[in-house]
């Protein structure tokens, strides 16, 4: 479906464009927060970590701005069909992006809690995992901006890579803790980081599923999901 900005009432198009712009900005900020949090983790950069925590307020503010605009547009313009689906998706997507921002903030907060003198070999794995997650978030929001259902489907398929990474990191860290009990505290923190990244991937998938609904009007069919993460907790942690 092409991007259509041709409503008879031009002010409606302006509202829609503003809404799309705000969501893009919000997605960009969440992606950046993730990348900065991971950089701060890798380099032990407390200042950068603190900045991620501060910047999360801007993501929250954008969420309320989108909510307000979407509610206002529904009330004043009575959108129908794909316009209506877009409003509903916009409301859901921003709450998901806000969650992604929270996970990035959570990672950033751990930087100060960790003993930076000890290096743990799982960190490079986490860096690779985070760059895949950042790509998924990026592509999910791109698929929304471009109304690209195929890209959205690819995002949901690629989320399996994130789950694979999580399973691998989980095993690595558990082994590490068994072999080096003095690293348990650090390893536990990194396990939470991995879990946060895994959840972010799931949220990118949620966005992609909503984009698919906006574009096609149908719900994405239950696709082949990969194995559940090995701690078996992924489903209970929904929300």
């Amino acid at each position: 479906m092409a991007l259509t900005n041709d409503h008879t009432v031009k002010a409606f198009d302006e509202d829609l464009n503003r809404l799309r712009g705000l969501i893009s900005e919000m997605g960009g900020r969440a992606e950046q927060a993730l990348l900065q949090a991971m950089t701060a983790l890798k380099q032990g950069d407390f200042d950068l970590a603190a900045q991620v925590v501060r910047d999360d307020k801007k993501i929250d503010a954008l969420e309320s701005e989108v909510e307000q605009l979407a509610v206002q547009t529904i009330a004043l313009r009575a959108p129908m069909a794909d316009d209506l689906r877009e409003m509903i998706a916009a409301l859901k997507i921003v709450s998901v992006v806000e969650r992604i921002g929270d996970y990035a903030k959570n990672i950033a907060k751990r930087v100060a809690l960790m003993d930076q003198t000890r290096s743990i070999e799982a960190i490079p794995l986490l860096m690779s995992m985070s760059s895949i997650v950042a790509e998924l978030i990026h592509d999910a929001l791109d698929s929304f901006a471009a109304r690209d259902a195929e890209l959205a489907v690819r995002v949901t398929v690629r989320d399996k890579n994130v789950d694979d990474f999580y399973n691998s990191i989980f095993r690595t860290l558990v082994t590490f803790m068994m072999e080096n009990p003095k690293y348990i505290s650090e390893s536990a923190h990194l396990l939470f980081v991995a879990k946060n990244l895994e959840r972010m991937g799931d949220h990118a998938t949620n966005i992609a599923e909503m984009v698919y609904y906006v574009v096609t009007g149908e719900h994405m069919e239950e696709r082949e999901r990969g194995e559940q993460p090995e701690d078996g907790a992924a489903e209970q942690e929904q929300g």
Partner: protein
């Protein structure tokens, strides 16, 4: 959703391959649609798309236009309404109509409602007529407002009350189908809401077809929606599907306000 979901098992009215011409100009092109008693059907579409013309062909109101010609088949309970044997007066009693502007007779409220049953011989005695008038006014949601002034002129009522009076007049002759041609376009939102509530109440008792320019109204009152454009039936479906996920590009452009 499959087409099977859209089949109306026992249609009250059935139109097949209907064309309507005004002189040389074709206003309706090969329209087929079923109307049932349990589902309110809304006709939507831009001005001049033929929806009112098609509605008016369902009780032969187009007969009053000299140049109008209808081809194809329209059935009421399986009976061809354009057959020579069809009594048009009787047909219009069975297929009643409510118009855009309330048009009460310049008579009392009582006579407005009682006139039809009387001339159709539905009320042998004054007591019978009283019962019919009261029942029609109750069904039209007007009784409580007018029961103490039944002998006042129908034209003295407010616009919304007049329209409900016209609906009471239509249902007084116990029709099977009620056609409504933009029944709320001259009414304020409260009077509109009362008519919509009335449509909801009447559903199941009569087959109801409503033409409306107000898409929110179509969405609120109907279970089936038919989108007309340039004399053709572009899309027919469940109202929820038409307004959330229309299949045809032209339908989508119209309901989302992109229609040129």
């Amino acid at each position: 959703m499959t087409q099977d979901d859209l089949i109306i098992a026992d249609p009250k009215m059935r139109a097949q391959g209907v064309n309507v011409f005004y002189g040389d100009k074709q206003a309706i092109n090969d329209v087929s649609i079923d109307v049932g008693t349990d589902l309110v059907t809304a006709f939507i579409g831009p001005s001049g798309c033929g929806k009112s013309t098609f509605l008016r062909s369902l009780n032969r109101m187009n007969d009053t236009v000299a140049s109008a010609k209808v081809t194809g088949r329209i059935e009421l309970d399986g009976e061809d309404i354009y057959a020579p044997s069809m009594d048009v007066v009787q047909l219009r009693a069975r297929v009643g109509m409510v118009f855009q502007k309330p048009n009460p007779f310049p008579k009392s409220i009582y006579d407005n409602v009682g006139y039809g049953p009387r001339i159709h011989g539905l009320a042998p005695s004054k007591a019978d007529l009283d019962v019919i008038v009261e029942r029609a006014l109750v069904r039209a949601g007007l009784w409580d407002e007018v029961k103490d002034r039944l002998l006042e002129s129908g034209t003295a009522l407010s616009g919304g009350q007049q329209q409900r009076l016209c609906i009471a007049r239509a249902i007084a002759v116990d029709p099977e189908v009620i056609l409504m041609d933009e029944p709320c376009s001259a009414l304020d939102p409260i009077a509109t809401a009362k008519i919509e509530e009335l449509i909801h109440e009447l559903r199941g008792k009569y087959a109801i077809v409503i033409v409306t320019h107000n898409m929110q109204q179509a969405a609120r009152v109907s279970q089936r929606t038919a989108f007309f454009h340039l004399g053709t039936l572009v899309e027919y479906g469940k109202t929820t599907d038409i307004f959330t996920n229309p299949k045809q590009e032209r339908t989508k452009d119209y309901i989302t306000g992109r229609y040129g």
